[in-house]
Amino acid sequence: MYPHIHHQPDQPILDVQHLSVNYEGRGALENITFHLHAGERVAVVGPNGAGKSTLFKVVAGVLPPTSGEVKISGYSPRGHICIAYVPQRSQVDWRFPASVADVVMMGRIGQVGFFRWPRRADWDTVHAALEAVDMNSMANRQIGELSGGQQQRTFLARALAQEAELVLMDEPLNGLDTPSQEALLSLLDKLRQQKITVMVATHDLGQAASRFDRVMLLNHQLVRFGSPQDVLTSENLLRAYGGHAQLIQEADGTTTLADSCCDGEEEHE
């Protein structure tokens, strides 16, 4: 009863054509066109409220596009269960009565199917996913007892258990300390070997430049999409962030950005 469309191998994993979304009366995304190849890692950068979450939800097939189209391996996202959306941590009810293993198993219920219970093989998949993110020792913890990095890794394990081929992560690095960020980023490196495509919304331009294949600069419109060197120029950043951006030219030539816009809009820990 769960749909699962076979992929056309010659099609890009994600193909977005002239996508526009009006969300609650406002134009959230305007005329976005791009495509991704399997195994790519893309950082999506833009000011708060630029439409990053909206883009992810439309790609995941959770929100309908107002116009334009989204194709996952040649078909509409609504037929696929291979797209995983990892929410911002502030969007999750961490007091929910579920263990780490329970949350990861939630990703598999598409494969388990209606009126069935998870089988041994499903639990094996769950534990393999937890092993892959180094969380197996925490399998029976309640999710509220985890650190921020462990919470993100649990949700990444859920995406693996779902056998996702496209993983959309909404600001996963927010509020994590540097070692946790590093652990998560090196996990994303590993996913590349499995041809899993990853889109990550982030505020950290340094990480976007150093740890991702391509960078998408978004502010309702697609400002620029390409290699980090091409995209993260002062000129493009000023176009995306407008007057809110404060570019700081470091002594070693790198550019960091202080985003003074809209700090209260999203919850930062």
């Binding site: 609504r78 037929g79 269960i81 797209i83 939630m106």
Partner: protein, 284 residues
């Protein structure tokens, strides 16, 4: 010892007490299990509204059948399902906030119910039974209906356990897994409607929300997994029903209120004396 035995056994030497006990335990368990979702999803107000909104349906049945109680269950069921699905729809196309919409609907339906019942002369006893329940009036037929529909509710929750789990925890995941979220939400609303209809005779519409929320809230303080919460909540619901009936028998208290007060006492005990607000439990 013999004396205690007598105290425990004596009330149930009457058949109507035995039927009342069986009905209360079933209702206690069903309300407590459904209540876990009510607490998790913050639907307490919805549950309260649903219970009150059943009244005009019951009143209509009461008027049409000339005061007979036999068909009231079906009237309650019909009204509850209708209201549950209507509120589900309202919350989707919200021009006004959902809780405001529920507030308007709930009070007006309740008022309509009372208005209808009050057209009958000497209505006050029957009205109080609708509002506060009448455990001692449970007939064999009522008991069968209670068991069947209570069983349907528990079985459905069992069958859709993992889908309801995902839907309650992460609606976006439910959408990316292409679960039929709208249908599943409606099933959950209908389960609440069935629960309300089943519980009307025992606890009455006014106290229903306590049966839905209190045992589940107590269980949420003690457990960390959904199924554990359901088991503990059900046990508290059943225990409250039995204890409440004894209190009702020996102290001559209205049974619905005695059951609710027992559940509340358990909640307070757990709230106050649970080991270190979670620390001890979480260490394990």
């Amino acid at each position: 010892m013999n004396n205690l035995f007598n105290i425990l056994i004596q009330p149930f030497s009457y058949d109507f007490m035995l039927r009342g006990l069986a009905a209360s335990v079933i209702v206690g368990v069903v309300c407590a299990v459904v209540g876990v979702y009510v607490v998790l999803r913050g639907m307490a107000f919805f549950g309260d509204a649903l219970a009150h909104a059943v009244l005009p349906g019951v009143a209509l049945g009461y008027l049409l059948s000339g005061g007979s109680r036999n068909t009231l269950f079906w009237w309650a069921l019909g009204a509850a399902v209708l209201v549950a699905l209507a509120v589900g729809r309202i919350s989707k196309h919200a021009e006004i906030r959902e809780d405001t919409a529920i507030g308007i609907l709930f009070a007006s339906m309740f008022a309509l119910g009372i208005a209808l019942i009050s057209t009958v002369r000497s209505y006050s006893v029957d009205l109080s039974h609708f509002l506060f329940g009448n455990v001692l009036g449970v007939s064999t037929r009522d008991l069968i209906l209670t068991s069947v529909f209570g069983g349907v509710v528990l079985l459905t929750i069992f069958l859709f356990y993992k889908e309801f789990l995902v839907l309650s925890f992460d609606p976006v995941l439910a959408a990316t897994l292409r679960l039929p979220s709208g249908l599943l939400n409606n099933i959950l609303f209908v389960l609440m409607a069935l629960t309300v209809s089943v519980a009307m005779q025992t606890v009455g519409v006014s106290l229903m929300v306590a049966m839905l929320v209190t045992p589940a809230a107590t269980a949420s303080l003690l457990t960390r997994r959904l199924w554990q919460g359901m088991a503990v909540s059900a046990a508290i619901g059943a225990f409250s029903a039995v204890t409440g009936l004894y209190l009702s028998y020996y102290f001559n208290i209205v049974s619905g209120s005695a059951i609710v007060l027992t559940a509340t006492a358990i909640f307070l005990l757990v709230f106050l004396f649970q080991p270190h607000r979670g620390v001890v439990w979480k260490k394990r």
